[in-house]
């Protein structure tokens, strides 16, 4: 009996044979006492192991496992998508536009603004190992009939996150412009395709969002000093018209 025969017998015991294999096994068993003895050995061993009952799981283990796992918050932020991993220019389904023009107001973050939502959002990012321990640099909020939102700039070292929490009545184009030089788009995170269209080129990024949307853009400060004013300019447009715009102050480049 060779190794193939032995493995054939084993496969029979393990119920791993197809019809042809079973026929070969039958033939082998019919002609070989050694084969029958091996089959009996393997079956006895399987039965011996099989008499051992499964061990019960310790009572507290389920709770330990579940409590130790962080999931993305429902409605929170999804996975980072590196711009570097995408084609240089991406555009899909940028919505058309028209009407609604409203006056711009820039809201500068102050103390006591209770940006808990942003903290939670950044906390979600932190669990992905990026912005733990980040500090809020600037924030603005806006509110127009049927649409509102807030954008918070958080920094950790040379990495910055722009956290968006928007509730938009209709398709809204969001444009973000970084100061010339010094900063670049690094990645974005979104949940459930918060952005229906994203395009960027150089220091400008455009996207379209609608409804309640949360997403985060990650920026990185480069080694070259910024040549423009150290602000991030944001514009929200509906139907082709800017309905809201504002700026967030960046720390000056070193």
């Amino acid at each position: 009996m060779n190794q193939n025969d032995r493995e054939l017998i084993q496969a029979g015991v393990d119920d791993e044979l197809d019809a042809a294999g079973r026929a070969r096994l039958e033939a082998l068993l019919a002609e070989s006492e050694e084969a029958r003895a091996l089959q009996e050995d393997l079956e006895r061993l399987a039965a011996f192991i099989g008499q051992v009952p499964p061990r019960p799981v310790p009572d507290e283990l389920h709770r330990r496992i579940v409590d130790g796992i962080d999931l993305p918050r429902q409605g929170g932020v999804g996975r980072w998508l590196n711009f570097a991993a995408l084609p240089g220019f991406v555009r899909y389904g940028l919505a058309g536009a028209a009407a609604v023009v409203l006056t711009v107001a820039v809201y500068r973050a102050g103390e006591g603004l209770a940006p808990e939502a942003e903290r939670d959002l950044v906390g979600t990012i932190a669990s992905r190992g990026d912005m733990a321990g980040g500090r809020e640099v600037d924030q603005f909020r806006f509110g127009v009939p049927e649409s509102n939102g807030q954008v918070t700039l958080v920094a950790r070292g040379d990495v910055y996150a722009l956290a968006f929490d928007l509730d938009l009545a209709g398709p809204t184009a969001v444009e973000i412009v970084l100061p010339d030089g010094g900063y670049r788009f690094d990645a974005f995170a979104q949940q459930d395709d918060a952005l229906s269209a994203v395009s960027w080129s150089g220091n400008r990024l455009e996207a379209v969002a609608e409804g309640k949307r949360r997403f985060v853009l990650r920026l990185r400060r480069g080694s070259a000093p910024s040549t423009g004013e150290p602000v991030i300019a944001l514009t929200f447009s509906q139907d082709g018209e800017a309905v809201y715009s504002g700026t967030l102050d960046l720390p000056p480049s070193s």
Binding site: D14, L45, P58, L61, R64, G68, D70, R79
Partner: protein, 180 residues
């Protein structure tokens, strides 16, 4: 177990649904715990490995390839974590003579428990590779193909390794007076 059900639960977990997380853990904690226990021979270590296994699985959920069964993926993590744990034990010279040779447990008067202890002692004498195939075949009821996926070896290797492992296992049990 339905693969579709697993995929639905995984998708819900990705959306942050903790109830889905609880259901998914519930489906697999028992077989994974039993596999880890048989790999390690220690209830405490097995519990730690199971916790780490699920933690790693969910941290890396975005890497899970739905082409493969979820349990194959999670067993792979569990087997690797068990072997890591065994290596840590070896490094700290706490390996198993104490555990294997330790006296009978509180309810070892029951025949099933005695058999379980002897079986565990025999398992612990096998190499990690041999123990893994025995555990996957007999304690998780994995097929050859699934064992191959878990251990990332060809099915042909599964067959030959399983045969050698059983031979070694039988010899160990016979030395202890059992005649399986």
């Amino acid at each position: 177990m339905s693969d579709d059900r697993d995929l639905a639960l995984i998708e819900d977990c990705r959306r942050g649904d903790r109830q889905a997380l609880g259901s998914l853990v519930r489906r697999y904690e028992r077989p994974v715990y039993n596999a880890a226990f048989r790999m390690l021979g220690s209830a405490d270590d097995a519990a730690d490995v199971v916790q780490t296994t699920f933690l790693k699985a969910f941290e890396n959920l975005h890497r899970y390839n739905p082409q493969y069964k979820f349990f194959s993926w999670i067993y792979r993590i569990a087997v690797n974590e068990s072997i890591n744990q065994l290596n840590r034990r070896k490094r700290t010279e706490e390996l198993d003579e104490r555990r294997v040779a330790s006296g009978p447990g509180p309810d070892a008067t029951l025949v099933a428990d005695q058999v379980s202890e002897e079986l565990q002692a025999a398992l612990m004498t096998l190499s990690d590779d041999h123990r893994a195939v025995i555990v996957l075949r007999h304690f998780t009821e994995s097929s050859y193909r699934e064992i191959g996926e878990v251990l990332q070896i060809p099915e042909k290797t599964v067959k030959s390794r399983l045969f050698s492992a059983r031979k070694a296992m039988k010899a160990q049990l016979e030395r202890k007076g059992y005649t399986p």
